[in-house]
């Protein structure tokens, strides 16, 4: 399949945000935005959705419940040992439950993210613009197969007008 993309490279986040607005006014579908820093507003502008927070919530809840179940089983059911006059089902569970909720939530969110993004340690970088990990921002537009040369040229001009410092095509 012929999957080339047109990429506009920007050097300032405010210019990038205005460029997104401009492109969307012209009904151009933006496939992705690359940025070295999280920018507020890009996510909403591109109307992206994610289910990752819900997954995190579920992992956290599973963490709380399973840690409580483990603590309850060890210190109440399996080996009930009274110390310091405290009840078996004790309040001090809360500290470990709190810590492990965060741990389980974070760890499994990372794992989910890695699996969904098909990432693994030692994977080769596949960035269209390598400097997007440093000081540049990039807008990626999918090039349609039946896009005429004139349309591509118009798109390039539009990107240049919005302040792109570099425009390139890549796979």
């Amino acid at each position: 399949m012929n999957n080339t993309n047109i990429i506009g490279v920007y050097e300032d986040e405010d210019v990038l945000l205005k460029a997104i607005d401009k492109l969307q006014e012209n009904h151009i579908k933006i496939a992705d935005v690359y940025s070295p820093i999280p920018i507020h507003g890009v996510f909403e502008k591109l109307k992206l959705t994610t289910r990752l927070p819900y997954a995190t919530f579920i992992y956290g809840a599973i963490g709380t419940i399973s840690v409580f179940a483990f603590l309850y089983w060890t210190s109440v059911v399996s080996y009930p040992l009274k110390f310091g006059g405290k009840p078996l089902n004790t309040l001090s569970f809360i500290i470990i439950m709190f810590v492990l909720t965060i741990f389980v939530g974070t760890l499994f969110t990372f794992l989910t993210y890695f699996i969904r993004e098909k990432m693994y340690p030692g994977k080769k970088v596949t960035l269209p613009v390598p400097r997007t990990t440093n000081d540049q921002f990039a807008i990626l537009i999918e090039k349609d197969q039946n896009m005429s040369d004139l349309e591509v040229k118009k798109l390039n001009e539009l990107l240049k007008k919005t302040g792109a410092v570099e425009i390139k095509e890549s796979e």
Binding site: G41, P53, F57, L91, S92
Partner: protein, 386 residues
């Protein structure tokens, strides 16, 4: 740019009626023999609105020292709230008539026969207590009014001079608050039970003040926006306010647990005496309600991003959390003073009276100053905030 706030006639009438109702309940309470209970309620409401104001002005100082951009359009709300401190100073003065009804350590005979109170006597005595009250309020009023004055001057002359002066004054104010507000909470709330002490008590009360201060600022911003003023309020601003409330709900829960779990775990009678009436007897409902309303509810509700950016949902959270602060203070004050565990006309009436007074003071103060600090260096960043 933003139009000037006008206080409506209906608002004034409702306000005066509620204040009259509050005054009526307080007088009835005092005349029908419910002395202790009425004084306890007055203390509760005095502390409630004073701490909300302190929390809001602390937020203002925080924005100044961190040079936050997003909040620059909202600095006038806490600045207007700071006027309430002057009213609060007068209202607290009446509390001195009720000292004997509330504070065990003010009784000379009791102190003389009590080694612990005798030991604390150099700090807990009425003259020094009064000096502290006057000094603390004088410092708060002076510093908050100075910040307000500098900000209003900035409107006229512009430039960075006033901005830098506000930043410096805010640093002083935060430093002063750390000491004075802690001691003020210890003086007026913790000394209700002079035998008991907790080293985290003042921290908890401070977090409560900060938490509910933000809640009130958010509520005022949204109400002004709904009334057609402060049109610059966007979803991202509300999201940031909601983030503040969300984060502080966790901090509040953390401090609550820090106090409770250490006392519970150490199980020393002189410390647990505080929680015995609160968790084992009639106050049980309030005990759990305090935790659910102030921590569990905002934590779970504001987790949802869509809710955190919805004006009506945030207003709902604000109303619930204002009730939450009332419950927290009720739990701090009532078991040591009136020992009543039901809510009657005295509780409702006093709160409504104070609430109306607080709302009117803020409305009038806001009406007297421009709603937006037009020469604030970060104003454009705040409006364009995304």
């Amino acid at each position: 740019m933003e139009k000037q706030l006008k206080v409506g006639e209906g608002f004034k009438i409702i306000g005066f009626v509620l204040i009259a109702f509050g005054l009526f309940t307080v007088l009835t309470g005092l005349l029908t023999g419910d002395h202790v209970r009425t004084w306890a309620n007055l203390l509760l409401n005095n502390y409630y609105f004073m701490s909300v104001t302190i929390g809001a002005t602390f937020w203002l100082a925080m924005q100044a020292i961190t040079q936050s951009g997003w909040s620059a359009a909202y600095v006038r709300i806490p600045q207007a709230m700071s006027n309430y401190l002057i009213v609060s100073f007068i209202l607290w003065a009446f509390m001195f008539f009720g000292l004997h009804d509330l504070y065990h350590w003010t009784h000379h005979d009791a102190v003389m026969h009590d080694p612990i109170l005798l030991h604390k006597e150099p700090y807990l005595n009425i003259p020094f207590f009064t000096i502290r009250y006057v000094l603390f309020f004088a410092l708060w009023i002076f510093l908050t009014q100075r910040i307000k004055k500098l900000s209003l001057e900035e409107d006229k002359i512009g430039g960075l001079t006033n901005f830098n002066k506000i930043e410096f004054t805010s640093k002083v104010y935060i430093f002063v608050l750390a000491i004075t507000f802690s001691l003020f909470s210890i003086d007026w709330l913790m000394s209700l039970d002079p035998h008991w002490y907790s080293t985290i008590y003042a921290v908890k009360k401070f977090v409560m003040a900060f938490y509910h201060g933000i809640v009130v600022i958010t509520a005022i911003a949204i109400i002004l926006n709904k009334l057609g003023y402060l049109t610059i309020l966007t979803k991202t601003h509300m999201g940031d306010f909601a983030r503040y409330i969300f984060a502080l709900s966790i901090i509040w829960g953390y401090i609550w647990l820090s106090q409770y779990i250490l006392i519970w775990y150490a199980n020393i009678p002189e410390e647990t005496v505080y929680y015995v009436p609160r968790i084992m007897e009639e106050y049980k409902t309030y005990f759990y309600l305090e935790l659910i309303v102030n921590w569990a509810f905002p934590f779970l509700f504001l987790m949802w991003n869509r809710v955190a950016k919805n004006a009506w949902a945030l207003l709902f959270v604000a109303v619930v959390l204002m009730a939450g602060q009332w419950i927290e203070l009720y739990m701090s004050i009532m078991p040591d003073t009136a020992d009543t565990h039901n809510i009657t006309y005295i509780e409702v009436g006093t709160f409504l009276g104070y609430f109306a007074l607080f709302a009117m003071v803020i409305a009038w103060s806001l009406a007297r100053i421009p709603l937006v600090a037009k020469n604030h260096p970060y104003l454009i960043e705040s409006i364009e905030h995304h």
